[in-house]
Symmetry: C2
Subunit: 204 residues, 2 copies
C-alpha cells in the first residue's frame, strides 16, 4: 500500500500539515495505521500537490507559519477509487512466530518464555489504549472506525490468550506432539552438534 494513499486518507479527515500527519500516526499505531517518516511525507506532499491531488493553504496560525494541505476534487476522487479497490491480504511478519517455530531442543526454553512475557506486556498496553480510544472524549472515531477498533481489540485479546496458553504449556513441559515423519528433530540436533563439535568447550 502506498504512502500517497495513506496521506490522502489522513487529509480526508481534516486539512493537515506534514508535521501533523506524522504525529497522527505516533499513537494510532494499533495496527490500524502505521508510521511514516518526514523523509517520505514532505516529498510526497510536494508530489501530490504538483499532481493536483492536494493544495496548500499557507497559514500564520497561532504565531507559527505552517502549510496545511487539503484535498482537491481530483484528490477526493483518487482517494475514493482507492477505497473501492479490494485490499490485498496483509503480510504479517512476526519475528516471534518465526523464532518460535525455528527454536530447537538444544536452546533454553526460558529465553523463549521471556520473549512471550515481553510480547504479552506490549500487547496489553496497546489493548488498553485501543479500548479507551473510542471513549476518551476528544478523538474522532467514526462509526466504521469503531468497527476497525473492535477488530484490533479482538485480535489483541486472542494474542494475549495464546501467549498465556503457550507460557503455561512451556512451563509445564506440556508441548503438543508435532509431526516429524523423517526424524528431522534428531537430524537437526546431530547436524548442529557436528558443526559446533570441534569447539564444544567455548561454544556459548
Amino acid at each position: 500500500m502506498s504512502i500517497e494513499h495513506t496521506i490522502l486518507a489522513v487529509l480526508s479527515f481534516w486539512p493537515s500539515t506534514g508535521y501533523n500527519i506524522k504525529s497522527e500516526f505516533e499513537h494510532k499505531a494499533a495496527g490500524l495505521y502505521w508510521g511514516m517518516s518526514y523523509g517520505s511525507i514532505y516529498p510526497k506532499l510536494k508530489k501530490l500537490e504538483k499532481e493536483g491531488f492536494i493544495y496548500a493553504i499557507e497559514q500564520e496560525d497561532e504565531g507559527r507559519k505552517k502549510k496545511k494541505y487539503e484535498l482537491t476534487a481530483k484528490g477526493w476522487k483518487e482517494f475514493e477509487n482507492w477505497l473501492k479497490t479490494p485490499p490485498p491480504f496483509p503480510v504479517i511478519k512476526d519475528e516471534l512466530l518465526m523464532k518460535m517455530s525455528t527454536w530447537h531442543e538444544d536452546m533454553d526454553n526460558d529465553v523463549l518464555i521471556s520473549h512471550l512475557f515481553k510480547r504479552k506486556e506490549e500487547a496489553t498496553d496497546i489493548l488498553k489504549f485501543v479500548q479507551e480510544w473510542p471513549r476518551n472524549g476528544y478523538s474522532f472515531v467514526s462509526r466504521l472506525g469503531c468497527l476497525s477498533i473492535r477488530y484490533a481489540e479482538m485480535k489483541l485479546e486472542t494474542e494475549i490468550k495464546w501467549i498465556e496458553e503457550s507460557i503455561e504449556v512451556l512451563q509445564n513441559n506440556n508441548l503438543p506432539v508435532g509431526q516429524d515423519p523423517h526424524g528431522n528433530t534428531e537430524k537437526l540436533l546431530n547436524r548442529r552438534r557436528m558443526a559446533i563439535g570441534g569447539e564444544k568447550g567455548n561454544f556459548q
Copy 2:
C-alpha cells in the same frame, strides 16, 4: 527483520539451495513465514558464504547440479543469538482496516461489504491449510512449530468471526455510535461536497 536471519533459520532445518528456500516460503505464507525473491536470496547466500556463516556443497543430485548450503559453527552461533534477541512488536499494515476506518458516509457500504467477503474467503482458505498442515503426513512440524501454527489458527478464527459480525452489522445498518465531539463527520462531508461541488454532474 533481516532476510539474512530468515535464511539462516531455513537452513537450520536442513541444507537447502536458493531455489529450495524460495519454494519453502511459497506455501507457508500463513503469517509464520514470508516470501522473498531470488533477487534477494542468491546475493544473500553469496554474502553469507563469504562471511563464513554458511558453506556450499556442490552436488550432482538427481541428475541436476545444485548448490546446497549448510550452516557453519559460526552460522549456528549467529542464528541462535538471533533467536535469543527479543523480537520487536510486529507492524501490521492491513489496508482493509485503513480503508474501513477512513470510509465515509457518502460512500456505498456494499463495496466495503464486498471487501469483507473477499477477506473472509482468503482467511478461510489459509485457515484450512493451517489446520491440515501439522497432520498432512509429510511436513516437518516441530513441537514448538505446532504452537506457532496454533496461533495462526486462533488469529484467523478471530478474524473470520470479526468479519462475520461486521458484515451483519453493516447489512442491518446496526453500526456502533463512534465518538465525534467536534462534528467531524458532518465537516468531512461538507468539505468533500464543497470540493467536488463544481462538477456534481460528472463526479463518479
